[in-house]
Subunit: 382 residues, 4 copies
């Protein structure tokens, strides 16, 4: 394999661990060489075995030790995947960066804007590569849209809408309209911070916009709602967007949207046409040249009309499906192809992925939304 | 026939005239008995002939004369349809109301809030029936949704989204991004007032919400955008909604939405489930009981699971389509069944239609949006 | 109005009568001048009044008298619509044709192939115009497909599939799997002939193919099934098609297809691409040039990319809907525009409609299917 | 891991190899312990390394040696995956079975009915477990349908339709309508046998029916078409089905279906309702109880209304997607859970997978179709 990587967190039994492991290894570009899955030595070792780590000396019970030892080895890992609880991302990422080890981090990047800014600075100073797994941005048809916008196929962007409706929040409410107790910790501001729906899924919408259009939100007006009423966190969030230059937009993020399971969707209007992509049919991209019939672009191998990167990313024939794991794998592959290209002094070509600055922008976005809502739904700069 | 009606405007060659004529006569409840189609006597007479008016003495060249003479006849018209240019609705409606004749009026109701309030007062004082043809509210599946909400099938309403994307504005822009001259008058604030997209189609969304849920918007934050840039009117409008009682929502109205032709859609979340209706498949209503599979309700005859009013309104077997004309006819039918029931001292049952107060609320809504946008996107009461 | 027409059958209370009346009058090309709605003089007169016939002398209690008197008048009707029970179409049509009056006939044309052949001969001999209202062939987007095939946009046709699933037959069966008695007459071979599903809806599919592609079925293998089991008629029919020249196809017609209400659909593969149209979204036509993205053609005014006839037929802006009544009106309009053009010595242009030969082909098709099924599912020529 | 497996064929660079490797290892139930990827020792070794085989002594250059040595080891593989060219499946499968090693085999099972029957016999005699990877039958929503039918939710089955349209054949034809030479070998009867579309994808439809409904086709009438005309193999196949007991159906398989990429779909009518599943949205199952609204069942975790096996198979939350790799993994998981349960003396519960008899039935089906077509489209027993 071209690369070696490590994992912090994500042992056997971890939902997110499986995603990242499959994502990193699916294309035979990297092999898991080191890990720190658990502080419990037994669990740690069991996870390492199942994740097929060959050398048990590279299974660590502290991430600090792992960063230290791996950075000291001539055959040390090329990058580490951080899959621990959200509030630990910052410290672990910082440690590996400072040891010169590149990072792939689950979202969010950090707990505060200050932490995020520090990581951006450290990444630059230490010249490491930092990726973030904003899932939806990895779909091949999604990347197709990005390339078409870059080529000017819809002209200048005028307006952007992104929505992310889910219904899992409804499962947490009993018939009296109160939180079901066993899940209450998931809705505790002390655990999840100042925002729930906006932070958890609104940020996906924010990054979907950034990765699809190349545009970053400049200021927001956010209206956050909570259900059940005795919950101190937003479960539904409607956000007016200003991108500057006369470009407006909207994000809607909801975890109480009965009838919608994971409806992440983006729609972009330009002067020459529009593009629409939805996670409900993630292999499809709707392209409407101004005044013409809508065209259904389909990702997958065997479609000559697609952009090079779309064809590169496709693993299965068009009509077959690549799902949640594969979009993780696409982000990993893009990250790793970039790393390999750099090693070999080549241009990485069309491969791209959300990076540490994207992670920082996500934190800023949530904070601006919280502030806008707190102050009566006024414009707040991101 | 049970009823006689008249038309002001809407002669042969008038797009909207055909809609209303077909709408009023489709169900054999009313016959066109009088009309004032044009100030030109020849055109007036020709239209009357084509619209099958039997008595040419009842074809008038002024609406004032029509109101006067029809109100004096023992067999005078039961109601008049007003289909003249928008800025004349108020004066014509006022005239007929004051002569004790009921009115069916194309939107908008009037030019100003004051005029609208006056009409509301006059309707009450003169004890006439006043309907407004907000098209989408007439679809049988739409009415099915209204009944299900009234019966509590989705519980207490939490959040409401309505969108109305169209693309016809794009046809008015040339390749340089400027208005095509021949259509320029359609985009002149002197002609159309202070708003274009919000007034023209945003009000449809506002009424769709009111007629579907029974809720009226209390205050708004509106962000209006214009394209092309040298246009002084909104072509795209994103509006945060507050219904009071902790219920939020959003309206998006756009006439530059390439890829969408007439995508009027409403989605309502309640504590026990959700409902979704879209003009793209207007015979379908999506109902999702909390935690259960989404169900596709289909209007049309032969569906025992539908509410009485939905079955009453259906003219064709389920699977067949009723379109734009038929939804007009549904509003007319509801208006006329109510009138007949009143005459006969019966309860009109489940028939309902947008009325003069709905028309007034539409004007208030547009004005609040314009003010919010002008003042930097702040909350403005409707 | 340009034309005068009469109706035989289709009085007030008649479902199909409303469709034809609306269809014939929607575009202000014809006026109902004569009628024979019922043998009961009172009912006849009441229907005439509601259908707005002006001259009560032209309301007849026998169709023979109507044919005689109308053909004798200098201002006699230009054509008659025949809306009586199926088994009377032949004799009534024959009578009017022999009096030199053109005919618009509801399907089926006649009871036997011999009768159909006679009508074809009589139409030619008497030089009258004969149309048949095969509903689905009237949709503007359907006609768009026809024009595109004629222009060669999908190349040479290779294969054709048409399906027409409905579920109304299921409503006639009780929980024990037996016919509900009150509807039993609808399923009596003496009433409906040798076939139910094939004759009732399979023929629609047959004509949809003919009008869309210009191809007529040469021979069939039909497999007919019946449910409930004690029913002597087909409720589900699967038919292999041979069009000659190496072109194959299939028709499936079912009245027991739970989950499908009126899913008439056609899909045609050619050497250069494919076309697909479905009554579920009748304003849409899916066009896939070989190897390219599928394009969604949308009928309605304002779409410059459409063929002339599609634009001509559209009454509402794209995105709005034209339903069951409007497709009837399109067939009527095409029939009447052809008649007017002939009168004026003009070419009717792209207007077209199913004619008497199409009606005959429909009878032949059903008979061939019945024979194929009876003989153990062998090829039978149409 | 619970199990050890080996691979014959499917080395690095093999499309199908990746699918099976991922499928077998995705759920951490098995580890690749042995392999015979290539006769070229270097390639063989490279593949073994990439596929993470730990012990290089278990990398063999002949499958015979592999069968022999692995069956002799106390820690030998529990099963072998056979991923070699189609015409070698029989001999390799036979070899492993005779050494008492269980098999997972890519379709088709064998080249002739006789070979298939022999394998069925050998499987029984040697008491091994034999699975076949008919891809589509692995989707969780597909399995949901199977369980609902078994529970009687649609009553007695009346009619079954399955279609599998693809368009890849069109890519092989140039503008003159001839085969593109470089692909000609793929269309050579000597290479692929007597059938192309029917054997390649029609058999998927046949198994989709068997696994969904539990019914096996008793006899067929097949009409096979070929395009381009100079091709000696079917590219489009329409097949009437008889399941006995008055149950009919149809299969359509096409590789020239422009506009369809991988539209495997099944629709089943029963006396109490219907079920519909399509690979175009593989997480969805449409269930229509007779006379009631259609319900959209969605697979994925978190849906309490699903059958146990559907919930078991789901790896991601509903709304997220599982694709082509995951459905392979579902078949592998079902196969392996059954194997583990057997080892542990437990009932495997609801896990199921296509087996050697299914493979044999697939061969019989293709042969019957070829014969029916050759003999002028007559009924031929399967």
């Amino acid at each position: 394999m071209a690369l070696k990587f490590g994992m912090v967190g994500g042992g056997i039994g971890s939902y997110i661990g499986d995603h990242h492991y499959l994502g990193a290894t699916m294309d035979n570009l990297a092999e898991l060489a080191a890990g720190c899955f658990s502080r419990n030595p037994e669990k740690n070792r069991a996870s390492a075995e199942k994740r097929l780590i060959k050398d048990m000396d590279r299974v660590y019970t502290s991430y600090q030790e792992m960063a230290e030892k791996e950075s000291a080895r001539p055959d040390g890992i090329d990058f580490v995947s951080i899959l621990t609880p959200n509030n630990s991302h910052y410290e672990i990422a910082k440690c590996f960066i400072e040891h010169g080890i590149s990072v792939m981090c689950d979202k969010p990047l950090a707990n505060t804007i200050e932490q995020g800014e520090e990581l951006v600075r450290l990444v630059e100073e230490n010249n490491v590569q930092f990726g973030m797994t904003y899932t939806y941005t990895g779909f091949a048809a999604f990347r197709q849209g990005r390339e078409m916008i870059k080529k000017g196929m819809i002209g200048d962007i005028l307006y952007i809408r992104a929505e992310y409706p889910e219904d899992f929040g409804m499962n947490m409410v009993n018939d009296d309209g109160n939180l079901i107790e066993t899940d209450a910790w998931r809705f505790d501001p002390k655990q999840v911070g100042a925002s729930l729906a906006t932070a958890d899924i609104g940020t996906h919408a924010e990054q979907v916009i950034a990765q699809f259009t190349g545009l970053y939100i400049k200021r927001v007006i956010a209206k956050m709602d909570n259900y059940p009423k005795n919950l101190a966190l937003d479960t539904n969030s409607t956000i007016l967007l200003d991108f500057g230059g006369g470009i407006s937009g909207e994000i809607w993020a909801s975890i109480i949207a009965s009838g919608h399971e994971c409806g992440m969707k983006i729609y972009v209007i330009g002067t020459k046409g529009s593009l629409e992509w939805s996670n409900e049919t993630p292999e499809r991209l709707l392209y409407t040249p101004k005044g013409q019939p809508t065209q259904i672009y389909s990702s997958g191998t065997g479609r000559g009309y697609l952009e090079p990167v779309t064809r590169e990313l496709a693993r299965v024939a068009s009509g077959h499906h690549e799902g949640y794991f594969e979009t993780f794998a696409n982000i990993y592959r893009s990250y790793m192809e970039t790393m390999i290209a750099k090693k070999e002094g080549r241009d990485p070509g069309p491969f791209t992925y959300p990076n540490v600055k994207d992670g920082l922008h996500g934190i800023r976005f949530v904070q601006a939304c919280v502030e806008s809502n707190r102050n009566g739904n006024v414009w707040v700069d991101v």
